[in-house]
Amino acid sequence: MLQLLVGQTLNGVIVGTLYGIIALGVTLTFGITGIVNFALGEFMMIGAYVTWYLFDVAGLPYPVAIWPAVAVAAGCGFAADQLLFRFTRNNLINGLLVSIGLISIIEAAALLLWTTTPKDMGYVLSGAVRLGGMSLPKMKLVVFALLAAVMFLTYAALSRTWIGRAAYAFSQNPEAAMLMGVRTQVLQSTVVVYSTALAGFGGALYATLYSLEPSMGGLYILKGVEAAILGGIGSLIGSLAGGIILGVTEAVGSIYLPSAFRDAYGLIFVVAILLYQPSGLFGAER
């Protein structure tokens, strides 16, 4: 039993980092552009499918295949920003609705290109690591390490570089930042594109573990938003923490309670947090 618990917890942590990378995108976008980009799940899907295509169909080595995938996701993100999100800055409802329209379009396009038949990517890294009495697939550990690394690097970059400090200043006081010379338009677009790139990267890694369907984005953006709220919108470390907590809650919850309701456990937890600690576990109320 203990083995099951530990195993599920570890699984939850790994899935949690996937939630976390989306949550990071959500939190960054909200902090700098004032909207929640619900279409981030679709950018994750784009990254996943392009990776699959390049690795499985075109035969490129996996480490090479990731980068064009991320680039495509980021490119689409840039297009979305210039055509759509540029006009909905700080307008939560409009941003929400526009991103929902975008979801319809992207998902339909994916259906046309790749159909609903799930695509399974071939093994990138096979084999497992033995920990105690359990075996954990190596690829899962790699995914975890890469995602966590990217999130920490993002955090470090934001707290140490000029761009990071400009972004922080902007999120605190947009007008002052503008008067100080921060190129706010560029900053906002950069953040949108970066968060779609993060989602694409998450998708590229997702493809190594699970089968791909055009509808995968919808589930992950929901989890990403939940994780962002849990961790506190505005807190970068909170995104990772929130994601992991959500992943573990779902995984462990499924042991003791019907797994059909797995998605519900995270939801209930999030609702409870929102009611008692609206700023999330790590965040400050915006």
Partner: protein, 310 residues
């Protein structure tokens, strides 16, 4: 005066012989009820509720199950559906509004409850038959003076039945919104803090708006179930919520009738233009985006402002 707007709808079936077109109208009427009622809480009170489709779907299930299980008429079966909707609205609304959740969080919490409801219905196979859905074989009966009990079956019957329901919904909304209650909703939408200091109990009125909107949606859901003869868990899905939101946005959220236009366009268009499912979804996404960016007041709203400017 505005009653004149309904006259064309009353004579329409006499002019058009196509059952296909009439059935599009029926769907439009029923979904218009959902859209108009959603606008109560969204357009007029300013709260983005993602629970509307859940109210729609839950009532569909309760009405259908009650009718077939207990062998009662549509009207009797409607009662527990409405009762439950009121109860669940009061509970969820109290939770949300008591904690004074700001706009975005209210949307998220109502979404969470909506998803929970959908999961329950999806997995409660013994009662709801899960993903397979349920067939609804009963039909409503209406007592008409002179003709006795008529069964609402077939396109003509449903056309007038659903039109009557829509007129009822619009009448209720007009009365409420035209009264001091409507002013309270507007106050909450425009400046909630100010409304509080002027003595308006914003908790009570938000709860009222939410409950009333959901109750009308429950009626729409029940009608939909009995008309299509089939219900499934996706009625409570996010996509259904989004459809309703799109109808309101497209038609215009500052009027009672606006959402009706949106319902007609979004229900009718996919049937008019023969498109594959994916192409339809792309069109739908484009319509939503263009409406937000170019026509923020919706079709009716934009027309109304042109008229004012002229």
């Amino acid at each position: 005066m505005k009653a004149l707007l309904w006259v064309p709808f009353l004579v329409f079936p006499a002019l058009v012989q196509s059952n296909f077109i009439l059935s599009i109208f029926i769907f439009s009427f029923i979904l218009a009820i959902a859209a108009v009622s959603f606008n109560l809480i969204f357009g007029f009170t300013g709260q983005l509720s993602m629970f509307h489709a859940a109210a729609f779907g839950i009532a569909a299930y309760i009405t259908s199950l009650t009718a077939s299980f207990f062998h009662v008429s549509f009207w009797l079966a409607l009662l527990p559906a409405i009762g439950f909707t009121i109860l669940i609205s009061l509970i969820i609304g109290s939770i949300c509004f008591n904690f004074q959740l700001r706009a975005f969080y209210f949307a998220v919490v109502t979404l969470a409850f909506s998803e929970l409801a959908r999961l329950v219905i999806l997995n409660w196979n013994s009662v709801t038959n899960g993903t397979l859905g349920l067939m609804v074989l009963d039909k409503p009966f209406v007592w008409a003076p002179g003709a006795g009990l008529i069964k609402i079956d077939g396109v003509f019957g449903w056309y007038f039945f659903s039109l009557a329901a829509l007129i009822f919904t619009v009448a209720v909304c007009s009365l409420v919104l035209g009264s001091w209650i409507g002013r309270c909703f507007a106050a909450i939408r425009l400046n909630e803090d100010l409304a509080q200091t002027l003595g308006i109990d914003t908790f009570r009125y938000k709860l009222l708006s939410f409950t009333l909107a959901n109750t009308l949606a429950a009626i729409a859901g029940s009608l939909y179930a009995f008309y299509t003869g089939y219900i499934e868990p996706n009625y409570l899905g996010i996509n259904q919520s989004l459809d309703i939101i799109s109808m309101v946005l497209l038609g215009g959220r500052s009027s009672i009738l606006g959402p009706i236009a949106g319902a007609f366009v979004l229900t009718g268009l996919p049937h008019m233009i023969d498109l594959s499912g994916e192409a339809r979804a792309i069109l739908y996404g484009l319509v939503l985006i263009l409406t937000i960016l170019i026509l923020p007041q919706g079709l009716i709203g934009t027309l109304a402002s042109w008229r004012r400017a002229a």
